[in-house]
């Protein structure tokens, strides 16, 4: 079934992204838009994705299931989708920032990795 009419939510959302990018440039203010909190006709998210396009960076995260982090054609606007282990989508957001926080290495993880590396080195003789 293909509804002919749309919710009309794409255009205001694009303006919201435009404002957020202006804020990011002017003040460094970051922003997250939760796409699951808005009603869209079944075809509209596909359309929105097409308008935003694909930018230079794309990353995949594997923690509690897959996540895809895709910079859109508008640098600074990222399309982020988190899936669970069943490959079901659990969140879909657009983040306006220089780099999504989820990509940064975390202190606790660095610490644990460091411990592991140290113990590996302890058992290695080269």
């Amino acid at each position: 079934m293909q509804p002919l009419e749309k919710t009309g939510n794409i255009l205001p959302l694009l303006h919201e992204i435009r404002h957020a990018l202006e804020d990011l440039l002017a003040t460094g203010q970051t922003m997250v838009i939760d796409l699951q909190a808005m009603p869209f006709a079944p075809s509209e998210l596909v359309e929105l994705k097409e308008i935003l396009g694909v930018g230079e960076v794309s990353a995949e995260l594997h923690a509690l299931g897959k996540s895809t982090i895709q910079e859109t054609a508008f640098s600074g606007a990222w399309w982020i989708v988190h899936f669970n282990i069943d490959e079901k989508m659990i969140s879909q957001t657009i983040e306006i920032c220089h780099i999504p926080a989820i990509l940064m290495a975390q202190h606790a993880d660095i610490q644990m990795g460091l411990q592991q590396l140290s113990s590996t080195l302890g058992g290695v003789s080269l």
Binding site: K6, Q36, D86, I90, S91, I102, A105
Partner: protein, 364 residues
Amino acid sequence: MNQLSLEERLRLHGVSRRGFLKFCAATASLMALSPAMIPRIAAALENAKRPSVIWLSFQECTGCTESITRSHSPSLESLIFDAISLDYHHTLQVASGDAAEHAREQAMKDNWGKYILVVDGSIPLGNKGFSTIAGISNVDMLIETAKGAAAIVAVGSCAAFGGLPKANPNPTGAVSIDMIIKDKPIINVPGCPPIPVVMTGVLAHFLTFGTLPELDHLKRPKAFYGQNIHDRCYRRPFYERGQFAETFDDEGAKKGWCLFKLGCKGPTTYNACATTKWNGGVSFPIESGHGCLGCSEPNFWDAGSFYAPLSTPIGHVAQNAGYALAAGALAGAAIGFANKQKSSQAIEKHEEITVNDLIKGETK
């Protein structure tokens, strides 16, 4: 194990800090909180301890439990479920008989004043024998278990509003939890069944902030029930323009027009279906071509035909004042009398309905 924080428990399962942050992002979305709250959620969950939960099932169909436990491998819902200590749930627990009842008593004793009591199903007041567990009537078990609870979550329309058991002619004298318990905070999570993430969202809120979410006038968490289905429906532009499907297979239906004339109760229903959707965000009834039944609203079963437009008068099919009074009194012959009177009225009404009426969708 019970003393470990959620982050520590996830780490024991090999989940990285990054995985934890992803979990927090999904939890914010789940709780319908602004993504700006993610750092606060992370900070709170880092230290959240495992609350004890006692789950009682009364007059119900197990659909609510099915809904919340539907996923078999780790999902956000099941992780949140893991983050609580579910000390008693007679459908899910392995223990049976005496051991099961002792588990409930022990959990109550160990966590007196702190446990969350989750209830699905309504309470029959007509005759205590209508529904019992281990020989204890539903009403007695509810009153006893509610005494030591920090809060009660009434899961599903039966526990929240009486639901299907309370539907006309209400043969068991079924009432909702808040008709019986008056001195504890009660959160209603209605729906038949509720969306799984709404149930876990309420638990996540408690886990995160140690407080109850903000509630509406029907004690429903505003984060999920603050939005009207009709206001958030993607078919709304058709409604505004007066383009309605008249049958389920006409041109309008095929074009995805508004389902108002086919009985959609979206305009009077508050729930998260239109945005959160079902089955991991796949679809919701209106998107699948069927009007909303209004299952998260009180007395939805008696609100006229599911297929008659909202504008159709429904007559006196739902007279509930008698039960409100009976529930307040809670005992004695008066209830029996009210029951008899109500069911004989109902039988009279019932006989007026013919098969033809049902097909036409007229239950006046």
